[in-house]
Symmetry: C3
Subunit: 333 residues, 3 copies
């Protein structure tokens, strides 16, 4: 039987907890300093640890051999991809991975995401050339993790000033239309075993800017910081579900054409619901941290499963089914 392994961060508690519920052994790749934290959650702590100095060490042949020997399947998550790098996951990581590892490459570049969304016929934020800045725009940087360093400005002058102030190269900026609406982060799961797409829930990311109003009427500029600090639970108007699920299906279908066999397992569409419908500003091609809200299931999962079903557990259920039917190749890469 395979074991479930991942790096101890991001959504690892949920992944291990779900694995344990389905009877899998678990392995945590951890820095020594976080072992104690995971030990504080006995039902979500891994059965055993592979201690590393740096998560990048996971790529070391001896570490990989150890994991392969233990029949480990790695579950990728946001920090996993950040620490190891999608390129290394493709070229240097030999341990079996849950999901299609090519999808991680497609999520990690803005231009690839745009190609994907275009092929999906899903609306995404318009890119704006520097010369065309005529009103409020949103500015992102490729290396920015978790929204850190993003900002919004209303003119070319302001844009350039902000780049100087932040000491960033204005030429590397992605300038996008500023979207007005409600943010919804939509959690999906594509099950090759059940041959279906499941809508498992939604959340809203909490960013430092979310408390900016507490500084009104005089705003501290420090509040204009898009760093993600956590997540809050939400549900959508039910009349929006057809659009939301349709969008998920289109992204899934496009993925099958762009990188066979396409998305496997959990993915997330980060959207802004504007008065003209959803605009998708990001795809995450693996489990997202917003699912940490729902270790016992979301407000949608009881409509699909009798048991409390987290995304972490859903991964384990899929893996167990694939293993039982001798079809692990359908869910691993």
């Amino acid at each position: 039987m395979v074991s479930i392994a991942t790096i101890c961060s991001h959504s690892a508690l949920q992944i291990f907890h779900g694995a344990r519920q389905e009877g899998f052994g678990t392995i945590g790749v951890a820095k020594k300093s976080v072992k104690k934290t995971y030990g504080s959650f006995p039902l979500a702590a891994p059965d055993e640890y592979v201690i590393v100095d740096d998560y990048y060490r996971l790529l070391h042949p001896s570490v990989q051999r150890g994991l392969i020997k233990k029949n480990a399947v790695l579950i990728p998550h946001g920090s996993f991809v950040e620490y190891i790098g999608s390129e290394n996951i493709l070229s240097k990581l030999k341990v079996p991975l849950f999901g299609n590892r090519k999808s991680l490459k497609w999520e990690s570049s803005r231009s690839k995401q745009e190609e994907w969304l275009k092929k999906s016929k899903v609306r995404f934020p318009k890119t704006i050339d520097f010369e065309d800045i005529a009103g409020r725009v949103f500015v992102k940087f490729g290396g920015a993790k978790g929204g850190k360093g993003f900002f919004s400005v209303s003119s070319r002058t302001e844009f350039l000033e902000e780049c100087v102030k932040r000491n960033v190269d204005s030429k590397t900026a992605a300038i996008q239309e500023f979207l007005v609406g409600s943010r919804y982060y939509l959690h999906f799961f594509h099950s090759p075993m059940q041959r279906r797409l499941e809508f498992l829930g939604a959340d809203k990311r909490i960013e430092i800017i979310d408390e900016a109003y507490r500084g009104l009427p005089k705003i501290n500029e420090d509040f204009f910081d898009y760093t993600v600090t956590g997540n809050a639970p939400v549900v959508l108007r039910e009349s929006l579900l057809p659009q939301a699920i349709d969008m998920g299906e289109r992204v899934l279908e496009a993925s099958k054409k762009l990188f066979k066999p396409g998305l496997i397992g959990p993915f997330c569409l980060e959207t802004m619901l504007t008065k003209n419908g959803f605009v998708c500003f990001e795809i995450s091609a693996r489990i997202v941290a917003g699912t940490n809200l729902y270790p016992q299931g979301s407000p949608y999962s009881p409509y699909i499963f009798e048991e409390p079903m987290s995304t972490g557990r859903r991964i384990a259920v899929e893996l167990a089914e694939a293993e039982r039917e001798g079809k692990l190749e359908k869910v691993l890469s």
Copy 2:
């Protein structure tokens, strides 16, 4: 045994899920286009569908005869009332309805709501004459669904300008005092079978304006849009519960006088908790979408029920009890 039927929108997943938990057969009145979405949630999908081109078709004699033949009880929800119309529900709909259908008439007119709240001795927002606009006021329109088209202004000039800009007739506007406080949408259930009023939970509606601060310091006017997009869970300070429940009881008692036998089943008080206590700006005389947050029960329902109790399930429990005791007339109209 009766079947539980409703229009596939708003809170239908929750209603069907609850019905199924209590062993009822379920019928979804649906447009062909949404059937697939409901099929994505196998434990909340109706057992059978009545496909219509337009929800208004529910009123057609042949559709009604079909539902009556199947012993259907219709559960009204927000979209149900919007699509069919409270007047038609009273005069043209022959299928038995859960709850008192007269209550839907009382929720659908602002003047009737005010009469009801006045009789309940529950504070509601003061109406302000155009001539008396002297500071910030809130402006609503009768036809506005889900908050769309509402706005707030600070002077008569601004009010008139806004009406011109939006191309709405200023004479049809309801001008109200602008309330300062925290919004709480309080979910109640009046059980004629148990002869009690239950407090089942609370939520906060998510509106597009709720992310207005993300445009600070320069606000995009587009953000001033009160369209409801979803819901978020909340709990109240426990010391506010006596006031909240008392308000629910007064609204229930007044309903018994205004339209016998008064409210039956779920209703919601949409309130602003100001520093002078609750102000109720709306009554919903049927299940509200905020209860979709709690398919497994809210933070309050475990204090009343041993099992996970959604409002949808609560309806089914009431109906089952009434049927078992041969008292369906107590919960239907």
Copy 3:
């Protein structure tokens, strides 16, 4: 066997519900007016009531004798401490109390809290002298309950004007640095029986100021009101958990040195997560109302307990274990 008793407010429903789950008898010290409200929640209502005109009456020898006769253990909560007073709890309350009653003294004074946080090596907001106000500062008053009366200003003149306007003595104000970040209220439980510190969840308090943005672009000053009205659920980025739990441990360790045997049972660290990490602006040395979100467990409790575990139930579990092992003295004071 002991009974579980508390004042009917704050988190009493949760406490009684948890006590009942673990088989304890329950006693509610209540004003007559709230008895009905608690009766609305049959699974969280106390088995019996001790009716008082004023909660302060709990200190009356006859009331205390009655409780002691019934083998009552009092569970302190926020309103409990507010109504009775931490000094009276130490000197006049003879009924056994769950937890270390000395901790309530340490939470009730700003200077003691600062001493505690300093000893814990946990960052807290810097105190600013009137003369040194040079930018935005946050102003608190000792007697302010639930954030009422707090304000923020940007200059000495503005500070003095605000004090005059509010008719408060500027000399009694605590002037602090204005913090920019996301608020997280972290729920901990120190179990002497299990000899461990548990992280049971997190919430965000809802204050009237939290809807200030709804008044944009013209802000009603009335919105600048920090009165707490309720709570909303949140989760933290998992990579922040080591810092959060470490902070909890340091506060616990410091408490052992400052008031032996230190914190027992639930406590909460009220923090602002800034871009430089957590800043703790308050310690609550007992159950907090934010735990009312989780009567069936939080997004973290399933990682520690197989059963749905609220903080109220956790208290009962600890008390039951101590009683079973004849070690009540380890959890009472």
